[in-house]
């Protein structure tokens, strides 16, 4: 159904994922870039470490299955072409600073008046309005203002950032949902609307129990390094455990859910004669994480930690799968490519990059449907790769294209 739809994707790295999800679902997404390519193409890392607009790995990661054209919307002729493109579009996705497109006379308000069905997603660091709307951003700045950064890091050190940009992904994914909700509405009413996405808000949307903890107890959830806080009244529980060749993540969880996985772990330790009497006789069904004492936690953590140190991540995962123990080995990148489950589910696919003379492994599909094929088919577009195809569709001739190129419009 969605393959009859077209989206113009004018986002930079703040919004790539929105169009990627829509493209996965079948929407024809066309990236519209400045002549020479979007400035985000200039930010590394690059394939093979060699800088170049068509080698940017962020671009690769989140623009596959899109087509790409170039267009200078700041020039009058470019503006007119953009108007034509919008006339044939169902979605416009953009991440310009608030007000930029309005100044060019290409903003939502204008097009919304003409094309009632148009859905327009704006992805900005802080939202289209409000006191921060013109603030300068970076991922660490936005993650800081979202509440996520504060809670990550060692207890006695500064907050620590996730070194791969994240706020843009929360926002891009939210924008895709927003576009789909708006589309569903449009299909019954014929009316489009604007989706206003703030990276700060999208990243702030999930903070586990930090907000309720503050509201109910006045307590600020702090960084706890390899530990987890906010679950127990008395103790912090270890989450990161060294094992023979790396790290294993494991949490003691209370309630019935915890009882099942913990009993399975202790039975496993018992097979290896590593479970203590204390553990074997603990009443896991009534084990309460909220009231558990430090002493009890220590008597669990000691032997569990020793057990993990004996084995490799692979051995622990294989044992956990057999017994239903909830643990997570820290996967390296090669581990992900080799992962048994991902491979059994044909998660990875090779996509040809003829311009690099190689193929690259990508996730094949994030969404699996019994009815639809949502797999990734083509790599991210090169700069202006589909100019001819798309502009000819609009009625431009070879001669027009030449003059557009000459004037640096495309």
């Amino acid at each position: 159904m969605l393959n009859r739809l077209r989206a113009l994707d004018l986002t930079d790295d703040k919004g790539f994922l929105c169009g990627k999800i829509l493209a996965d679902l079948g929407v024809n997404v066309i990236k519209v870039e400045k002549p020479g390519g979007d400035p985000s193409r200039a930010i590394g890392p690059f394939w093979g470490g060699v800088p170049g607009p068509d080698r940017n790995l962020y671009w690769f990661a989140y623009n596959s299955d899109k087509k790409g054209i170039t267009l200078d919307i700041e020039k009058p002729r470019g503006r007119r072409i953009f108007e034509k493109l919008v006339a044939a579009a169902d979605f416009v996705l953009e991440s310009y600073p608030p007000g930029y497109l309005d100044k060019l006379g290409l903003g939502y308000d204008r097009f919304h008046g003409i094309y009632k069905k148009l859905i327009w997603a704006s992805i900005t660091p802080f939202g289209a309005g409000g006191p921060y709307r013109h603030f300068k951003d970076s991922d660490i700045v936005v993650m800081g203002l979202s509440g996520t950064l504060y809670q990550t890091g060692e207890a006695d050190g500064p907050p620590v950032h996730i070194s791969l940009p994240q706020a843009c992904l929360h926002a891009g994914a939210d924008a895709a949902v927003g576009c789909m909700v708006a589309y569903y509405h449009r299909e019954t009413t014929g009316l489009g609307q604007r989706v206003d996405v703030s990276m700060q808000q999208s990243a702030a949307w999930f903070q586990a129990n930090a907000i309720p903890s503050y509201e109910l107890n006045g307590s600020i959830l702090k960084r706890a390094g390899a530990f987890r806080t906010g679950v127990s009244s008395q103790v912090a529980q270890r989450q990161v455990w060294p094992c023979r060749d790396g790290y294993i993540f494991f949490n003691v969880i209370g309630g019935r859910t915890g009882a099942k996985t913990l009993s399975a772990l202790i039975a496993w330790m018992d097979e290896e004669r590593m479970a203590t009497d204390f553990m074997l006789h603990l009443d896991w069904d009534n084990f309460d994480m909220f009231t558990v004492t430090g002493d009890v936690m220590d008597r669990i953590s000691g032997p569990v930690g020793e057990f993990f140190r004996r084995y490799t991540r692979k051995e622990l995962l294989a044992g956990a799968v057999r017994r239903g123990v909830s643990i997570g080995p820290l996967s390296g990148m090669q581990d992900l490519l080799d992962d048994e489950c991902l491979n059994a589910r044909s998660y990875w696919t090779q996509i040809e990059h003829p311009e690099l003379g190689t193929s690259i492994t990508y996730p094949k599909e994030y969404i699996r449907s019994s009815l639809m094929d949502y797999s990734t088919r083509s790599p991210a577009p090169l700069v202006g790769e589909h100019n001819e195809e798309i502009y000819k569709e609009l009625g431009f001739t070879n001669k027009d294209l030449q003059s557009l190129k000459k004037e640096a419009i495309i």
């Binding site: 970076s138 992904l169 702030a204 586990a208 109910l216 994480m289 059994a344």
Partner: protein, 407 residues
């Protein structure tokens, strides 16, 4: 029950939802008018209902802040699936539903005879959305999953922490819990659209593990390119210096600063009252600043420590330099920007009183998300659902209730 006006008014979802992934996925629909019935049981309440923090520090299934925060607009049906009388009730619910959602460990739904093939017999055009940790089929299907273990298996901690120290979890521990719901919601809307136009239902099977990898994909591609596993780099960035978190005045107060361009560097030096630094050969280019980052960070930190993070943010932003407060929960709740964005909904909860529920994550200009109702008490809507929505007679309802079906 008040009428739900929204994009999804009239849409009926039966949700066997668990933990955070369940309600967050349902939220996109419930907040836009869908009727989302969450099947629960007092014999085994959702793990979030028995998670701290509690109102007045008194544990109780209707007093958990973690649960309440994430479950606005959702209706609760208490149904003991292990009671022999439950099967007939579920069949009626399935027939009534447009969508069957579940995010249990695979196998649970099958044990209850609610696999896709069985659902289709009851409701041929049903859309089933499954969203377990590792997918409903495959070698890890029986491995119980939580966000806390999905974060590492998806590789995120490789990108968190200091080079010489251990990798760190995301402080928001179950971080992956907010990733798959967005993919799932977009896919479910596409499936609903398809059904509305063709009459065909479908099965959607999402794996939280698989969707989480989307958040580290550039790191994976870099590995494919270089063959080098990622290294933890603390708060530095290849694209900016200064780049990081700096201590401010006050107890555990911090700010962020990012200086990428020459223009930002000049502006930054002016703001900190050291315009001469611009010409300092140690810091004259981004490469130099990256090389001498430790020294640079000392200079930055010596300046920030005399100001509150709010002052640092105001001064640097005024000069066009990206900077912000490292907000804690209180800062986030009172953030002047977020307060304008409908992200927090003050609501009156039956047992907790005034309590902030999570609101929307994006804004729609014409059909905003609505706070229809606070998080439900366990089983709060059982009678209403059975008698008003399913049309069960009062007599039958009372009989089944006495038998313990609705527990």
């Amino acid at each position: 029950m008040e009428k739900r006006e929204g994009v999804f008014s009239g849409l009926k979802i039966l949700a066997f939802a668990w933990a955070v992934v369940g309600p967050l996925t349902m939220k996109f629909f419930a907040d836009h008018g869908a009727t989302v019935i969450r099947v629960e049981t007092s014999h085994r309440p959702c793990t979030m209902r028995s998670s701290a923090p509690y109102k007045d520090n008194q544990p109780g299934v209707n007093r958990g802040g973690y649960f309440t925060y994430y479950n606005a607009n959702i209706l609760s049906l208490a149904l003991n699936m292990n009671h022999p009388g439950a099967a007939a009730v579920v069949r009626r619910l399935v027939t009534w539903s447009d969508v069957f959602f579940e995010n249990y460990t695979p196998g649970v739904i099958e044990r209850w005879g609610l696999d896709y093939e069985s659902l289709k017999k009851l409701r041929p055009d049903i859309i089933m959305l499954r969203q377990s940790g590792y997918g409903s089929w495959g070698p890890y299907k029986n491995l119980p999953a939580f966000g806390m273990v999905l974060v590492p298996i998806a590789g995120l901690p490789n990108f968190i922490g200091w080079p010489s120290k251990e990798p760190l979890p995301v402080g928001v521990s179950a971080y992956t819990d907010c990733i798959s719901p967005r993919f799932a919601a977009a896919a479910l809307i596409a499936a609903l659209d398809h059904r509305n136009k063709t009459g065909e239902g479908q099965l959607l099977d999402l794996s939280q593990f698989e969707t989480a990898i989307s958040f580290i994909l550039p790191g994976l591609l870099e590995y494919e390119s270089t063959g080098k596993e990622p290294e933890r780099i603390g708060n530095s960035s290849p694209h900016a210096a200064p780049h990081g978190v700096y201590r401010c005045q006050g107890d555990d107060r911090w700010c962020t600063i990012t200086v990428s361009t020459a223009e930002e560097w000049r502006a930054f030096c002016d703001v900190i009252g050291k315009p001469g630094l611009v010409k300092d050969p140690r810091f004259s280019t981004l490469e130099k600043r990256r090389e001498n980052e430790a020294e640079l960070n000392k200079i930055v930190g010596a300046w920030t420590v005399d100001f509150s993070p709010e002052e640092v943010m105001a001064r640097l932003q005024k000069a066009g330099v990206p900077s912000g407060v490292v907000s804690n929960a209180a800062d986030v709740l009172h953030d002047p920007q977020l307060r304008q964005r409908n992200i927090f909904w003050p609501m009156q909860h039956a047992e907790m009183g005034d309590f902030t529920h999570l609101g929307e994550s994006f804004q729609l200009s014409e059909t905003p998300a609505q706070p229809y109702s606070p998080a439900p008490l366990l089983g709060e809507h059982t009678e209403q659902i059975m008698t008003e929505m399913l049309g069960m007679s009062d007599e039958e309802f009372v009989t089944l209730m006495r038998e313990g079906v609705f527990e």
